[in-house]
């Protein structure tokens, strides 16, 4: 498929205490990853507003990954539970407007799961690469591209 040469852009929103630290551990352990993910660190998955995801697609993300502490492990006790409840709605909403599950991923990665983080990141990148560029959003983003960059 033509998608093999496509390098997807993955915007990740991760909590500071579990996933960010887990990603640190992956680094400390020198576990190699594909270079397509960009992490934005927030204190807790509870801080992650669905508008972040929309903005990520507006800035050209082909896929989004949201990750935090496992249930019951939240540094702030319940932030991830509230986050999960929002996601249950939001992912269905995105899916209904045509932003499919294959582009919006969620995971629980703890501070000790460096290996899991690598598997999750690589898995998401592979999955989105297979999906190809997010043409739908790219088209509506085009209106915001600087004129000289518009393909006529």
């Amino acid at each position: 498929m033509a998608n093999e040469n496509f390098e997807p852009k993955i915007t990740c929103f991760v909590c500071n205490w579990c996933t960010y630290t887990g990603a640190d551990l992956a680094g400390t352990s020198r576990l190699k990853q594909q270079p397509n993910a960009r992490l934005i660190r927030v204190p807790c998955t509870g801080r992650i507003d669905p508008v972040f995801l929309i903005k990520a697609f507006e800035t050209g993300a082909d896929g989004v990954l949201v990750s935090g502490c496992h249930p019951a492990d939240c540094h702030y006790n319940t932030g991830n539970y509230h986050a999960r409840r929002r996601w249950i709605f939001f992912r269905e909403l995105l899916n209904t407007v045509g932003i499919p599950e294959s582009r919006v991923h969620f995971s629980w990665v703890s501070a000790s799961e460096g290996k899991k983080w690598v598997d999750v990141v690589n898995g998401v990148i592979d999955k989105v690469r297979q999906e190809g560029p997010f043409e739908g959003y790219k088209k509506i983003n085009n209106e915001f591209a600087l004129p000289e960059e518009v393909e006529v």
């Binding site: 800035t59 915001f144 591209a145 600087l146 004129p147 000289e148 518009v150």
Partner: protein
């Protein structure tokens, strides 16, 4: 003035020709919601009996959102980039008199001091094919604001429906004449005698008020008690302004394209929004919804008159027809305790 004859089928053929020549072609949609770009003759909707579309055609000369320029920050420099120029030739099919009349009314606002080149360029590039209207409902009041179902104001070419899917075609402006000349195959010349009388099936809208009397009253009744009840149930949405063929308020905002670049955009705005007049301090001179409703009526029937000698209304009735809480501007104006 020259007359021509054409048919429904020929107009569709015209659409095909125009599409080949890369014109922008605008027609009402089949559902009667709005005007839209079409590229295929079969999508053309020219129907004198149709209710005016819910949203007027103004966005093709005054877009709901129009970039004025783009900017890019480069280290310690700021680069401005013009948007792509408005160039494409455009034709608007089937504008009712209450739609077409909006263009010359708005033209005054966009040219009284600063000449809005975006608006002017779009108007200049657009051929408006107006059409006599054969629709009347309780919301229509074009006759109250100096128009009529067969007003040609704002049209370059004017269609009057005849029998058997025929249209009598009038060239109204030189631009219209040039257009007809360019597409001679579509418009066959007709002698005065060839024009068959066309019978309307609907009565013209009744005259609900006199604009001069209304203006007189408005001149002296800014503080009238009447307003407190008139706008009381208004929910403060901008539906009325945005569907209106002549409401022209806009807001200018900067939007991010990416971290180091953005665009300055001119967006529709509306006086019924609480934010419209809200100051940065938090103070709002039009604090309540009745204050805002007074503004809407006053702008249409007084301020625009004061400034440009015209009523800022074509009597299409869209704002009232669509209002979720049944506010009818003609009723409110007609009920003014004069």
């Amino acid at each position: 003035m020259n007359y021509y004859i054409t048919t429904d089928e020929k107009l569709r053929e015209l659409v095909r020709t125009l599409a080949e020549q890369k014109w922008n072609i605008i027609s009402a949609d089949k559902q009667g919601t709005r005007f839209m770009y079409i590229n295929d003759g079969k999508d053309l909707t020219v129907d004198a009996k149709a209710r005016p579309t819910k949203v007027s055609a103004k966005q093709f000369v005054f877009p709901k959102s129009e970039p004025l320029f783009f900017f890019k920050k480069e280290h310690d420099d700021l680069k401005l980039i013009d948007p792509q120029a408005v160039q494409q030739k455009t034709v608007l099919f089937g504008a009712k008199p209450c739609d077409a009349a909006g263009l010359p009314i708005m033209e005054k606002l966009f040219n009284w001091d600063y000449k809005d080149e975006f608006f002017n360029k779009r108007v200049e590039n657009t051929v408006v094919i107006g059409m006599a209207c054969d629709y009347t409902d309780e919301y229509c009041f074009c006759t109250s604001v100096g128009l009529a179902p067969d007003s040609e104001k704002g049209s370059d070419v004017f269609l009057v429906p005849g029998a058997d899917n025929h249209y009598v075609v009038k060239e109204v402006t030189p631009k219209g004449a040039a257009f007809i000349a360019e597409f001679k195959a579509i418009f066959s010349e007709a002698a005065q005698g060839d024009i068959k009388a066309v019978s309307r099936t609907q009565p013209a809208p009744e005259k609900k008020f006199n604009v001069d009397e209304v203006k007189n009253w408005l001149d002296g009744h800014f503080e009238s008690e009447y307003w407190s009840k008139a706008g009381e149930t208004c929910l403060g949405c901008a539906q009325c302004a945005f569907v209106c063929p002549v409401c022209h308020c806009f807001d200018i905002v900067d939007e991010n394209c990416a971290a180091d670049c953005g665009r300055r955009v001119k967006n529709w705005d509306a006086c019924q929004f609480g934010l419209f007049t809200k100051h940065a301090s938090g103070h709002n001179p039009r604090e309540t919804q009745p204050d805002r409703y007074r503004q809407r009526v006053s702008h249409k029937f007084k301020y625009y008159q004061d400034k440009f000698g015209e009523t800022l209304c074509t009597g299409c009735g869209r704002c009232s027809r669509n209002c979720a809480v049944g506010i009818d501007i003609a009723e409110i104006v007609a009920n003014i305790p004069m």
